[in-house]
């Protein structure tokens, strides 16, 4: 399923946040969005996922979602957004509860999502008993349980420490590629973008406009090979030079709220 983003403008009251964002995310494609703080990345993702309404412009879906997909556009949240009073399995099952499914199928979906995120042994644990990395695995399992077409991820790893982040990112990438799930991945961290994305959309500082779209011509599975190191380093330098000036200006802005 394709996502066609055509956001002409978005503002919060007087504050213009996004302008002229046109992106076509193809089936199974992973698109990273990077840009300085406050440039409107989260806003853009919210608009794409239908939890914010663009001031002007729309987002379209095209094509058929995968079989038994219950929620084509599914979020994975930076702060995990788990219900603390529910166990891991109950959290993962939450999005199924308002769908009519035979209970056998429901349980099978939950078990499958838990297995694919390595959470089977933690099904009965409460969120407070889990580390940050495990909590985000629950967030991922909850997204997988609805068999999404496109995952919308707003800095899903940024609340985690560096080692957990690296470990989880590899698992994550594996899932996306294996299931051919498309992803829009918002991040500050262009190393993550370089590891995951087919294309990187670089936004300017607020109001966010598309500054450049950088394609990464190496398949994700080959990016850890020695041969890829130089190309990726060049792309990394390019991305950094694209956002460095924007970021340093954005960083010095005083927030008026």
């Amino acid at each position: 399923m394709d996502v066609i983003i055509d956001v002409k403008r978005h503002s919060y009251d007087e504050l213009l946040v996004l302008e002229d964002i046109k992106v076509h995310v193809r089936e199974g494609e992973i698109v990273a969005v990077i840009g300085p703080s406050g440039c409107g990345k989260s806003t853009l993702l919210g608009i794409v996922g239908g939890i914010l309404k663009a001031s002007e412009g729309s987002v379209f879906l095209d094509g058929k979602p995968p079989a038994d997909c219950l929620n084509p556009l599914t979020f994975i949240f930076q702060d995990f957004a788990l219900l603390p009073w529910r166990t891991v399995a109950q959290n993962v099952g939450l999005p199924l509860e308002h769908h009519r499914l035979p209970s056998g199928q429901r349980n099978a979906r939950i078990a499958d999502a838990l297995a694919r995120t390595g959470l089977t042994d933690f099904a009965g644990a409460l969120p407070k008993q889990l580390s940050g990395g495990m909590k985000q695995r629950v967030g991922i399992a909850r997204a997988l349980v609805v068999k999404p077409a496109v995952l919308l991820m707003d800095e899903p790893l940024s609340a985690l420490d560096a080692q957990t982040r690296d470990l989880l990112m590899e698992d994550f990438l594996d899932l996306l590629l294996r299931e051919r799930i498309a992803g829009i991945y918002v991040t500050h961290n262009f190393q993550e973008a370089l590891r995951l994305a087919d294309r990187v959309v670089v936004l300017s500082r607020r109001p966010g406009r598309i500054k450049e779209v950088v394609s990464i011509p190496i398949p994700q599975r080959e990016r850890t090979d020695k041969a890829a190191v130089i190309t990726l380093a060049d792309l990394g330098n390019k991305l950094w030079s694209l956002i460095r000036d924007e970021a340093s200006v954005a960083d010095r802005e005083v927030i008026h709220e």
Partner: protein
């Protein structure tokens, strides 16, 4: 070379430097340390001192009865069955009033939390009536509803109703928005959001509201019974006071203390069961 070899990870320099001194403990942030023994010893000490001052004749027992005579008065209340008569009268008033006030308060608090128009209408009314000591309404309620149980129960219900609304409203307002957005991102229907996200999330606030509303109910039942009732702890206290039976009077106070503590403990048990996830 030998210097490097000597500074292995577990080898410390031997003492002898005149500047060497130990780092002192500078305080741990005034952390509260539980000391149950102190509490019991102090409690027992006060009772003992009290008993001694009366046995020795330092205090007039009509003015302040001794712990022993209070115990005897309590015991007589139990064996005569009077305790049960007064307790059941008070408890049934508290129970009825509290349930009515809590039920209405929860419903209206949730409605005000979810619906901006309901909040706009309700908030000024709640703010205006909340600070009024509800016992002041009793004469008015007697005028409207006649004497008997109804005005007492309604007084208690109204005393419970307002703090419950406020606790519920605060609980609903404190529901993390990201959880609601998460639910919406899975197309969860509004009723599901209310029951599965908002209510459990507001529960801690609602339960701590219960603590306040229960003690309000206790105050109001005693006050209402002092104004006009034949049975009830409040009526019993008033009679004992009029007859200068200070041992009965103190026994009534002890009963109220035990009652308040037990209700508080029951709420704590409730919290342990329902808020285990915190």
């Amino acid at each position: 070379m030998s210097e490097i070899a000597a500074s292995g990870p577990s080898v410390l320099p031997s003492s002898g430097s005149p500047q060497r001194r130990e780092v002192e403990f500078r305080g741990g942030g005034f952390m509260a340390v539980p000391q149950p023994l102190y509490s019991w010893v102090a409690f027992a000490g006060i009772i003992a001192l009290w008993q001694v001052s009366i046995s020795a004749g330092w205090i007039d027992p009509v003015f302040l009865p001794s712990p022993a005579s209070i115990c005897i008065a309590l015991w007589q209340l139990v064996v005569s069955g009077d305790l049960w008569i007064h307790m059941s009268a008070s408890l049934s008033r508290i129970g009825t009033g509290w349930f009515i006030g809590t039920g209405l308060g929860l419903a209206i608090g949730v409605a005000m939390g979810l619906n901006s128009s309901a909040r706009a209408v309700g908030m000024p009314l709640v703010s205006a009536i909340y600070p009024v000591p509800k016992i002041a309404l009793l004469p008015l309620l007697i005028l409207w509803l006649g004497i008997g149980e109804t005005p007492k129960v309604v007084t208690i219900a109204s005393g419970v109703f307002f703090p419950t609304i406020i606790a519920t409203l605060a609980g609903v307002d404190a529901v993390p928005r990201n959880l609601i957005r998460m639910a919406q991102s899975f197309n969860m229907p509004t009723s599901g959001i209310i029951w599965k996200i908002m209510m459990p999330s507001a529960l801690p606030g609602i339960l701590s509201g219960f603590r306040i509303s229960v003690s309000t109910a206790l105050i109001l039942v005693v006050a209402a019974e002092m104004i006009g009732a034949q049975y009830g702890i409040g009526a019993f206290l008033l009679t004992a006071g009029n007859l200068m039976q200070s041992d009965d009077l103190m026994a009534g106070v002890v009963i109220l203390s035990i009652l308040g503590l037990s209700i508080g403990a029951a709420i704590t048990v409730f919290e342990r069961i329902f808020l285990r996830w915190r």
